[in-house]
């Protein structure tokens, strides 16, 4: 789908966020970008989204460059429009693409149902819990049926119970949607639970240190599975090596 080749990004003031980072994304991948804070994970995500440009290296799409709506983005905060209902927030990407409201609403309602928010269509963000707001944000990112879903530590600010529930629900949604997901996290447990490819990054300037493949098919019992514990240990050892 996308090849990221030797990209580097340096910010004004001399901060070198990324150096020589390379990554290949394939259809229906679930990739976790794992690394300490400030290692350039979010910068790499922004480069993939086209929200920023690399100073060196390049990003090459296999078939065609992404059109608006081909990429969904979920930020660390839900970043909803506070004055709009859940329905209007999910409708937003379609509205920006010029889809009439009456044609969009069936998809919007289906997406809200898929993330478990049936009955909350008319709720404003302040009437929803942190987890529910994040569900709206995920529904908004998926409503355009993107080829690529980029998630920047979306569950980092949530409590552990909500996080576990949302991780399981995200996997369910991803299996149905069939898109490629790049999930930025600094939690080894989260990366091990969610991803089939765990990409470890070094501290700043961020580089891809190594990649760990997972064959876990996460479900309700996965966290009790010895294979999960073994994967967590493997990632932790890899992360220690990456941190030097």
């Amino acid at each position: 789908m996308l090849t990221v080749s030797h990209v580097a990004r340096r910010f004004p003031g001399g901060v070198e966020a990324l150096r020589d980072a390379s990554l290949r994304l394939s259809e229906a991948d679930f990739v976790a970008l794992l690394g300490p804070s400030g290692c350039g994970k979010s910068t790499l995500l922004r480069l993939i989204a086209g929200l920023d440009q690399p100073d060196d290296g390049r990003l090459v799409w296999d078939d065609r460059p992404p059109a608006p709506g081909d990429i969904g983005y979920v930020f660390q905060d839900a970043t909803l429009l506070p004055w709009a209902t859940a329905e209007d927030n999910v409708f937003l990407p379609l509205r920006l693409r010029g889809v009439p409201r009456d044609r969009a609403l069936p998809d919007v309602h289906a997406m809200l149902r898929r993330v478990g928010l049936q009955g909350f269509e008319q709720a404003r963000p302040r009437q929803l819990s942190g987890g529910m707001r994040m569900r709206v944000s995920i529904a908004r990112a998926l409503v355009t049926k993107p080829r690529l879903l980029l998630m920047d530590e979306p569950f980092a600010a949530l409590d552990e119970f909500t996080r576990h529930k949302l991780q399981a629900d995200l996997l369910e949604v991803w299996r149905q949607a069939g898109c490629t997901v790049v999930f930025v996290t600094h939690s080894i447990y989260e990366a091990a639970f969610l991803a089939h490819r765990i990409v470890l990054m070094t501290p700043r300037p961020g580089r891809i240190d190594r990649e760990i493949a997972s064959t876990l098919d996460a479900g309700p019992e996965t966290r009790l599975d010895p294979a999960y514990a073994a994967l967590v240990a493997t990632i932790a050892r890899g992360m220690e090596a990456a941190l030097g």
């Binding site: 970043t79 429009l81 004055w83 920006l96 404003r124 302040r126 355009t144």
Partner: protein, 247 residues
């Protein structure tokens, strides 16, 4: 508790009346509240007409300031060139004292009503402009990124993100500017009144002071203060109602 300010006001008025009576203070130095009420009752139509004239200037200026500030803040938010061109002039306008330029404006404009509106608009403009400009820049960068990601044009981002984000700031500026528009209208009327224009409440104050009619002067002042209070609370309530409806 709710009536405490009202009761305190009544007590202060009673003490004031008692003090001028016991001290036998001449009415041309300090009239008591009863004399002031008497002056109002003697010519309520004249004073209320003058108040209406001042308020008409105030609301017209507030409307003009709101339209101008919104247009200029949007232009500034959309273009760095516009920002560089507008901002210094807006600041210059804010720091120039109105009494210093009001005579010039009155001479240049000629038509008294328009001259008063221009003066009051100058005073009311800056808080609205500064607040709206801040509000237009207040949307989180992530939401701006999201609009970019979905290919939203600059004007669509303005209409669907920046303007709604600026609404609470604009309403807060409107409340501040409401009071300032009244002050601007009064100051302009004082300058214009000394030049012979006779209609607003400030002119009635000037006229009363020339004739040493202190109770009438105080009555006009009280009307002005009440108008300012009502304007402030009214615009505050309007802002809250709009935001509550939106939320």
């Amino acid at each position: 508790m709710k009536f405490a300010p009202f009761l305190f006001g009544l007590l202060a008025l009673a003490l004031w009346e008692a003090a001028v009576r016991i001290g036998d203070v001449p009415v041309y130095e300090l009239p008591g509240p009863i004399a002031i009420v008497g002056a109002f009752v003697a010519d309520p139509v004249g004073l209320l007409q003058a108040l209406a004239s001042t308020l008409f200037v105030t609301f017209t200026a507030l409307l003009v300031a709101a339209i101008l500030s919104l247009a200029m803040a949007i232009a500034m938010s959309a273009s760095r060139l516009a920002q560089a061109a507008i901002q210094p002039w807006a600041v210059a306008l804010q720091v120039t004292p109105l009494p210093a330029i009001a005579p010039l404006i009155i001479i240049w404009v000629g038509e008294p009503f328009i001259a008063l509106v221009v003066c009051a608009t100058i005073v009311a403009f800056f808080p609205l402009f500064a607040n709206t400009a801040t509000g237009l820049a207040s949307a989180p960068p992530e939401l701006n990124d999201l609009f970019r990601l979905y290919g939203a044009s600059r004007w669509r981002t303005m209409a669907l993100l920046r303007l709604p984000a600026a609404l609470p700031y604009f309403l807060s500026g409107l409340r501040i500017s409401g009071g300032l528009a009244l002050v601007g209208a009064v100051v302009a009327e004082l300058v214009a009144g000394s030049g012979g224009f006779a209609s607003g409440l400030a002119y009635r104050i000037l006229e009363a002071s020339f004739r040493l009619e202190m109770p009438r002067m105080f009555a006009a002042l009280v009307l002005l203060a009440l108008a300012g209070i009502v304007l402030n609370f009214g615009l505050g309530a309007l802002g809250q109602a709009i935001l509550r409806r939106r939320q």
